[in-house]
Amino acid sequence: MKPHKLEDQLKENFSNFEPEVDPSLWTKISSQLPAGPAPTQPVTEPSGVLSSISSAGTWIAGTAAVIISGAAIYLTLNTSTGPETLKVPDSKPAVTKEEQIQPAESNQETSSPVKSENIQVQPSDRKTSESSQSLTPENRSSGSDKPTEEEIRLSQNSTESTVTPSAQDMNPVRAPKPEIPATEKPKVDPSHPANESLVPLKIITNTTGGFAPLTVTAMSNQAGKNSEFDFGDGNVSRNESATHTYRNAGIYTITCSADGRMSEQEIEVLDALPTAFSPNGDGTNDVFEINNSSIKEAEINIYNRYGRKVYSGKGDHLSWNGQYDDGRPAETGTYFYDIFATSSRGGVYKQKGTLTLFR
């Protein structure tokens, strides 16, 4: 082993020091953790491509939860009333059917608010179910690995005769579902009719801009339609959830077209941030610098791998010389930064990244 100065030897030894932990420790830790929320949460958690889009994620998850729980109630009602439901012709309004079910259902959970909710989830109106589908596009992308959601959707879309087998299939899986508090359902579900039919085509993107390379995921609010996405730089996609990475700075317009209608979204791509620098005084890349005419103002915090803040700056021109505030040179290695930038066009972008320092 090569001899080192004490501090360097320490850093070398301990930077990747990962001793085995006694497995019983986890049991002790987990026993001290408070119990989590309803166990239904993990089931409805989106795990598809879009799950990383945190802004869109919240309402999508919420909508998905409502649809699934709504469907669960509906299915339960169907199974509990048995073949009687099947006699109702497909063309009959959903309300009639619900009212037939209602008296048979003695369960207190399915009191009036739930009843009205079920009317909206009724599959007899194809447009309703179609539009509720389009509200949960992540279900489609993750549908393959979530057969239960898929089955629910199928049953929502299908005619009455196909509901029963699928409902029977679902029964063991969905058994605990009716325990979902009924209170949260009427609150959210009425939003569905508002979105049904004649919804203008609207493009949805996970971001409106950021630093290159910027990956943008676009979809339309009507997933069932054959949408085409033109990313404005020669790239076109017909995927329901279209993803493209912009490598060069610029202003791009993504156009979504479907059924002769169009919707656009502008994307601002800023110059890429440096990923490495070498403060060794050789005159090249000696500072980590953000000096970009398209940035009006930026605020950056840089942290070392131990989580200590090593640099913090705000302004239109930021630079870090690779030293701690007490003048000690920062070590070679990876640093983490958060940047909060306002572009000259007024866009506000937040980015996290890593930075390599070498000498």
Binding site: H4, Q9, P19, Y337
Partner: protein
């Protein structure tokens, strides 16, 4: 956006799951960082049992506070700060006496060391608590003396003198160990 992906869950998904107190996410996060954090605990403790207690307490805090993680810096850094804070809290509870003794060990002939992590850890663990803490904070975590002063409620100068003593202490031990090895 997070790139690392073990066990099929990204760091963001893990954090998200932990915010909802999902056991799988909690276990995932723990599995990812517990060993690294145990390494930190061992450095700040006198022995393994103490380190395990520290690790346990720190993780309970991590899961309790996960909602306040705003993504400033790395998640690992955030967890590490909690671990270190937990260690410092223990130290403060013990009301360490920061004695400015003149008992400075002899000046070390050589500055160069070559040691296995295991041996170095034992030497660090043998240091008196105050020395050990200042030494870890300055030499390994990279805090400045003024920050250490604030963290421990001591003056910057006390931090400096504690550090140089800790360092001399350690170097003495290193030398003794090296001598013992060469005599073998």
């Amino acid at each position: 956006m997070s790139v690392s992906n073990t066990g099929g869950m990204s760091e963001e998904q893990l954090v998200d799951g932990c915010r909802k107190a999902e056991p799988a996410a909690q276990k995932g996060l723990y599995d990812r960082y517990s060993r690294k954090m145990f390494g930190v605990c061992l450095r700040y403790s006198g022995n393994r049992e103490e380190a395990e207690d520290l690790l346990q307490e720190a993780w309970v805090t991590v899961f309790g506070k996960i909602s306040s993680f705003k993504g400033e810096g790395s998640l690992e850094g955030w967890i590490r700060r909690i671990v270190i804070n937990t260690a410092l809290m223990h130290l403060r509870q013990k009301k360490i006496q920061w004695v400015d003794t003149d008992n400075v060990p002899d000046v070390i002939a050589t500055e160069m060391v070559s040691l296995e992590t295991r041996d170095l850890l034992l030497l660090i663990q043998e240091l008196p608590e105050g020395f050990r803490t200042v030494f870890n904070l300055y030499a390994i975590e990279g805090y400045s003396h003024s920050e250490i002063g604030n963290l421990l409620g001591i003056s910057e100068n006390t931090s400096k003198s504690q550090y140089s003593r800790a360092r001399a202490h350690l170097m003495n031990k290193v030398q003794r160990l090296n001598n013992a090895e060469t005599e073998k």
